[in-house]
Symmetry: C2
Subunit: 341 residues, 2 copies
């Protein structure tokens, strides 16, 4: 093929790609992970993708089985100083307070409304469950999605002042793109609420609602003025954390992933389940060791505690990413932020 | 553009399509629904697809929102004289009987083992639940998938003598292909067991496990000899039928479909939920009125009862397909059967 006809052939492919929906991006020759430092962590990811996509070799995995799962809080975006969903719930308590005069004297709401978050959360899991049910139930699914989107549009992280969707990790966005360009289907498997994530994951991560697995409360189908709605009930349905993660994966995805990214011991069983399968497998832990650019926490943190995972990663062959050393950048560049907000 | 350059451009697109994974098939000029008679039913489907894919018009729906849901039993394959999954369960009772000597005297198993199916099922829902739990729980998810596949490879329909996967409706396979070629994502939403369907839906319908929604029993993650497994428990998790279908759609898909196919009143709420949304919507009911080539049943059937749906289809604008008049063929041609069995 002459240079000219080759160029025109590639041009036609590019044109065809632009014309035909769903056309996979051609593999780029430029570095697909520019925010990653050259080192063992990046090399493990690139080598794994090369192995499973090399047709005709023993490590080859057909595209249908290239399932990659990602925890969300602390893996795809920041989870400190409190989970974003908890910040949302606290703001919702304030917004809903006028409709709930009884909250002025009723815990954990009374403490919250006085600005005493620590006092409110001193009630432990029961207090948190009470806050979640009061702020996440009672609306229809569509109303709830709109409330989440409205909140994300204006809420700001207490330390960086960024919108929360600007607290996603640039290196992980590159991994998501890189995997999809290599035929992977990317899923979120999070302890967070499934209906808290779905309104924005497609825009922010390129992950559509049907590829988001999370915790849930029960929902009831009913007619209101002849119009069908799904009503969110103050009743727990499923906790997608720890041993619940492989169960959630089984329920929603129905096949075992070959690649899993997590950051805490809540992801341990997901990593274990993923990497215990046959053929090439990769388990990756994002280690928060960057107090300067993000946060540094692991064995003793109340949020995103990582203890057993650190102990066993090496014997299990899981890759531990140092945010400090392996990531050149942490967050989306500010220019990208302006484009979406 | 000259004819020659146009032809070479189309040729380059076709070549690019062949080279690039995930490239959408170009719209075919040949009839995409050859097993459908020309008539109002076929016309409704074709007109709907044309409307939602015509960019720049008010009816246009972006590919991400082109979600189509299909009931399985009686909509994609035959459900008479008994649901395929019940035939599976009855065969499993026989296969497991040597490990359960107590079944010789314990109902509904005793009647079943004597060949008295009607007597066994006389115990109603409780008897059926007992049979399902005894035959669907107690294994790991992977073991259960293998059992289902092995059974389907040898079991035969009592009337046609065909393998059950040869009892899928050729006109519906064409609809699935046609929709996917037009950017739709196709999902099964069935009252049947999610883990009974997933082992074979990808091969038979082109629908991957993560796009199958169904009823489920609970599953527990545990280690056996240090190896993680998911154990199926004799405890109901979710019934994906009637008002459960919109709930299952919400839980698994997370957005409202624009197109739904069903065949019984168990699909009523799914059709209602789908067609109550804004923009173009299509609800379709497959009416079993072909006693010669398949079965004829509706208002009085114990399986696949269709009563309210028939009453309200016309006022709700749902299309009712007459299998007798609208379908030129019912099942896969025998030649296609040989290719897969």
């Amino acid at each position: 093929m002459s240079m000219t006809s080759r160029r025109s052939f590639l041009g036609a492919i590019a044109t065809a790609c632009a014309l035909l929906a769903g056309c996979a991006a051609p593999v780029r020759s430029a570095d697909p992970l520019p925010s990653w430092s050259e080192g063992a962590a990046k090399q493990s990811i690139v080598a794994f993708v090369a192995e499973v996509t090399r047709d005709g070799t023993s490590g080859y995995v057909p595209p249908a089985d290239r399932v990659a799962v990602f925890d969300n809080d602390g893996t795809l975006w920041s989870e400190q100083p409190v989970y974003v969903q908890l910040a949302f719930a606290l703001d919702r308590v304030k917004a809903l307070a006028p409709q709930h005069p009884e909250w002025q004297t009723q815990e954990p709401f009374a403490s919250l409304l006085k600005g005493d978050v620590a006092g409110a959360l001193a009630g432990g899991e029961r207090a948190i469950a009470g806050i979640i049910m009061a702020t996440h139930a009672g609306t229809t699914s569509e109303e709830f999605a709109a409330i989440v989107k409205d909140w994300l549009a204006t809420a700001r992280h207490p330390v960086t002042g960024r919108p929360y969707t600007g607290m996603v990790y640039q290196p992980m966005l590159e991994v998501l793109d890189y995997l999809r360009a290599n035929g992977f289907k990317t899923f979120i498997v999070s302890g967070g609420g499934i209906e808290f994530m779905r309104p924005w994951t497609e825009q922010v991560y390129g992950i559509p609602p049907e590829q988001v697995v999370g915790s849930s409360i029960k929902v009831r189908y009913e007619l209101r003025d002849g119009k069908p709605v799904l009503v969110r009930l103050p009743e727990l349905d499923f906790i997608d954390d720890k041993a619940g993660k492989p169960v959630g994966i089984n329920q929603h995805i129905g096949r075992r992933p070959i690649l899993a990214f997590g950051n805490s011991d809540g992801d341990f069983e997901m990593l274990e389940w993923t990497t215990a399968g046959e053929g090439p497998r990769l388990g990756v832990i994002v280690h928060h060791d960057d107090a300067g650019r993000e946060y540094a926490y692991d064995r003793k943190s109340h949020i995103g505690r990582l203890d057993r995972g650190l102990d066993e990663a090496s014997t299990r062959g899981w890759v531990v990413i140092s945010m400090k050393n392996d990531w050149r950048a942490i967050y989306l560049p500010a220019t990208a932020l302006h484009a979406t907000h």
